[in-house]
Amino acid sequence: MSRVHVTCTVNGDETEFLCDGGQTLLNALRDELGLTGAKEGCGTGDCGSCSVIIDGRLTCSCLVLAPEAQGAAVLTVEGLASGDDLHPLQQSFLEGAALQCGVCTPGILMAAAALLDRNPDPTETEVRYGLAGNLCRCTGYDKIVRSVLAAADSQRTTSQRTNTEETA
């Protein structure tokens, strides 16, 4: 079978890879690009551990064919931090002990990042529904939800400060 050539942006970098037509984006990320942050917990769209953000939309990468990524901007957990600066969610997950085994963490971080992008000030219920596609079997979600709320808080405080500085 001839391989498909795909050009897209992954974590801000122009990226090319070859894949099989039937290969999932999750497989391509992991096996062709060596980005193993996204995990395959089910392969059927039910656990969210493969979550990535494609052109701003939270997506189960196990349900997307790799060739569909042609021309798209893909963000994975490996691209969440900017250099040495962790994303506020990463920081709050560390401080809030929001992970035990950590296998769900990459997907949950991406789902939470997508949630905060569209709703910077979510309620607890909105966080719970925003993460309802992501299974975590270890934590009972308590510390995850608290950490997402804490990250939202710190993000708002930072952006308020930036806004004030800009207007001052």
Partner: protein
């Protein structure tokens, strides 16, 4: 990284009696945290080797069938296929061999015993090729009738699955094989007299279905067998020394031929205390001469790896009008899948263990079915036994008009009470947990319409076993702490905290490492809530020897006798004060001159485990139109002994509670009439998601275990025991109906509401 010491989400107060520690009890960001929030951490499926092949297992579509023939010819000729194996490639195992059950479970021999049972495996260049080849392995079956329910297994007219299985523990010894693998009896006192002395006696029946541990990381392994007859195995497990021993046993190899490198483990909960893929991958790799990677699909995880047993009980308890329990009687059956297990023994042990009951009789049967071999799941067997006991205790309290916490306080075991096995309880914190819940604002908070509140208790005895730890001091005064316990939920941080406390250096000057089977001493599985307890003890022992060594070296450097040198706050201190204190880094910098590198190993078989009790409080709201039960508030108090890292203790409490809530409300294996699992995926096997749950308020109770240097009890398992009954009692309070068959799915709840046959007063009798 910063050390966060706030306790924002816990309502527990540090008890005044607790010694003050500098590090133990704080909440540093875990050492492996950064890797886990950036995607860097390597879990089992993230380990790849150059030139590796993809392996795939051929699984049985039948629950029970004779294998007439296996033809691998077509598969072997397919593109990319490098090796095919089946049962004949493994050492023969005879019924009765200690390796028989595991050997046959890994790869079927003459029969398949459950749907999903492995019959062959293939390695090929790509996953697609391996799957295509697996589909081309021709297996001819002669289907046999499957045994699928506990009732069928108990029926003597139903043929035995294993012709060699005679009920053990039965007296007289049976002469016919049966599907009852084992019988456990415990008795104390005069049960009939005990019931006669009761003012109220209640007897109830309960059933639960098998449930899966549901770890999010499927089983995965990469194996590389080399020409010298050795193999390296990368996999995630709860104990890599155990993987080594079992893999070697399954292959008939000497243990030393196998090295197991622990990957990060994406959840286990007991389910990764055994092996499924490792010997297959090693054998395929040896045959193909290349590394082989195998990853289970989620469907394989459900169909072929360890669910917790299903159960069926009849439990009877009697109480006097003052609430004192007088007698108990339990008839129990656990189904452990296709092979025997300790499930019934553990159930019999735990069913009445929390209460001081003078007279009791317990009879428990372990039965086998044509379903996957069960595996440990967090406090194995106790959630089901607690469902029964805690529901009946609740009903007794209701019948007697006694507050449910008060009822339990009157009967709670405490130090010196004799347990089911006849041994006295050490110091335990059951009463303290009950009081913590009674005094919690949740207990008296008002309830809304259609809401109800339930309380339930549970405990796990915990285990010790063998652990090793090596402490290496580095030239710059930092330390590496190597243990053999996989970190399944923050144990690296706990090890570092205890080492920091002992050595007196900062917790981030300690690098906690999980060593492979060739880099650290033997360590048993992370199970039985033992890692922080037992491996922690090994760390403490090693650190104490390091300190002794450091004192000796400091004495040399000071030119004084070692008896004049103490260790305080990370420095050697001269008792007379004539010499300046020597910080650890000053001693390690001079190590070459004082005797060479400082490295010490602590190895022990840990004794003195501390049982951990928990009491859970649950509010539910039941939709009377649909039967949907929503948990709206949840508080869980548990005795941790001492919480080394309170955040991860809370995490264990919260995680276990969530799993128990799933077990109570949604989760179950569903089979069709032929024994084919109908819900082998997360869509139909529904584990709780974030929107199903409220915050879970974890209240850490600390009644230190006197037998651990820091008072640790081990907290991993107890938290899953009370939720089944706590939710059931809450549903009963909300609806006035007792549901004793799990899960309490909407259909069942609605049926109970609409059909008032299942009320709370059947088969209770009053003596009085």
């Amino acid at each position: 990284m910063t050390v966060t010491e706030s306790r924002p989400e816990s309502s527990s107060e540090p008890p005044a009696a607790r010694p003050r520690y500098r590090f133990v009890g704080t909440r540093p960001v875990r050492h492996d945290g950064l890797d886990k929030v950036t995607g860097r951490a390597r879990f089992a499926a993230d380990c790849d080797l150059p030139g590796q092949l993809a392996g795939c297992v051929v699984r049985s579509p039948h629950a029970h069938a004779r294998i007439i023939s296996i033809d691998t010819g077509e598969a072997e000729a397919m593109p990319g296929v490098k090796a095919v194996i089946s049962g004949g490639d493994f050492p023969a195992v005879a019924p009765g061999d200690p390796n028989y059950d595991m050997g046959v479970n890994l790869m079927a021999r003459d029969r398949v015993l459950y749907e999903g049972h492995a019959v062959a495996a293939v390695a090929a260049l790509t996953t697609d090729q391996a799957r295509a080849a697996a589909a081309a392995v021709r297996v001819e079956y002669e289907p046999l009738p499957p045994v699928l329910t506990i009732d069928a297994a108990l029926d003597p007219a139903v043929g035995a699955i294993h012709a060699h299985m005679f009920t053990s523990g039965a007296d007289p010894a049976p002469t016919e094989p049966s599907n009852v693998s084992q019988l456990t009896n415990f008795a104390r006192g005069d049960t009939e007299a005990g019931f006669a002395a009761a003012d109220v006696v209640i007897e109830r029946e309960f059933t639960t279905q098998p449930v899966h541990q549901g770890y999010i990381e499927p089983h995965a392994v990469t194996a590389d067998a080399s020409q010298d007859g050795k193999a390296t195995v990368w996999c995630s497990s709860q104990g890599h020394f155990n993987v080594r021993a079992q893999t070697a046993a399954m292959l008939g190899w000497e243990t030393a031929r196998i090295k197991v490198v622990p990957a990060e483990i994406g959840g286990g909960f007991g389910g990764k205390t055994t092996i499924y893929l490792e010997p297959l991958a090693v054998l395929l790799s040896a045959k193909a001469g290349r590394p082989v990677k195998m990853v289970m699909t989620r469907s394989e995880v459900f169909r072929a790896t360890g669910p917790a047993p299903g159960s069926k009980f009849r439990v009877k308890l009697g109480a006097r009008s003052d609430g004192t329990l007088t007698a108990g009687k339990a008839q129990m059956a656990y189904s452990s899948g296709v092979f025997p297990s300790y499930a019934a023994f553990l159930g019999a042990w735990t069913v009445f263990e929390s209460y001081d009951i003078a007279d009791f009789e317990v009879e428990a049967r372990n039965v086998v079915l044509n379903t996957p071999r069960s595996a440990a799941y967090r406090a194995p067997s106790a959630p089901m036994s607690a469902l029964a006991t805690e529901t009946v205790v609740d009903e007794l309290a209701q019948a007697l008009g006694i507050d449910p916490i008060e009822m339990r306080l009157r009967n709670a075991v405490s130090e010196g009470a004799i347990n089911t096995l006849g041994a006295p309880f050490p110091r335990v914190g059951f009463t303290e947990c009950l009081e913590a819940i009674r005094d919690h604002p949740h207990y008296g908070a008002p309830l809304g319409p259609n809401q109800g509140r339930g309380v339930a208790a549970g405990h796990w005895f915990n285990i010790g076993e063998s652990s090793s730890a090596t402490v290496n001091l580095n030239e710059d005064g930092t330390a590496t702490v190597v243990t053999g316990s996989p970190d399944i939920g923050g144990s690296r941080a706990s090890m570092a905290l205890m080492a920091a406390e002992e050595l007196g250096i900062d917790v981030y000057d300690i690098t906690p490492v999980v060593g492979d089977t060739e880099s650290v001493g033997f360590t048993d599985i992370t199970e039985g809530s033992r890692a922080t307890f037992a491996t922690g003890m090994a760390v403490v022992e090693a650190c104490r020897r390091v300190v002794a060594d450091l004192r000796g070296r400091a004495a040399k450097m000071m030119g004084v006798d070692v008896s004049e040198v103490d260790w305080a706050d990370g420095s050697a201190v001269h008792a007379g004060g004539e010499h300046d204190p020597l910080p650890l880094a000053a001693i390690t910098a001079e190590a070459k001159k004082t005797g060479g590198p400082i490295t010490v190993t602590g190895s022990l078989d840990a004794k003195g485990v501390g049982p951990s009790f928990a009491v859970h409080l649950c509010d539910v709201e039941v939709d009377p139109e649909t039967g949907v039960v929503q948990v709206v508030r949840y508080t869980a108090a548990q005795d941790a002994g001492t919480a080394i890292h309170p955040s991860y203790v809370e995490g264990q409490i919260q995680g276990g509670a969530a799993q128990g809530i799933g077990w109570a409300l949604n989760e179950e294996y569903i089979y069709d009439g032929d024994g084919v699992m109908e819900n082998p995926g997360f869509l139909d096997y529904r584990v709780p998601v974030a929107s199903d749950l409220p915050m879970i308020d974890a209240v850490i109770v600390e009644v230190p275990n006197p037998n651990h240097p820091y008072g640790v009890r081990g907290v991993g398992e107890t938290s899953i025991i009370p939720p089944l009954a706590a939710v059931a009692n809450a549903v009963a309070a909300a609806t006035g109906r007792r549901i004793r068959d799990l899960p309490m799915s909407p259909v069942r709840v609605l049926d109970a509401i609409v059909n008032s046959g299942s009320d709370s007063t059947d088969s209770s009798s009053s003596n009085g």
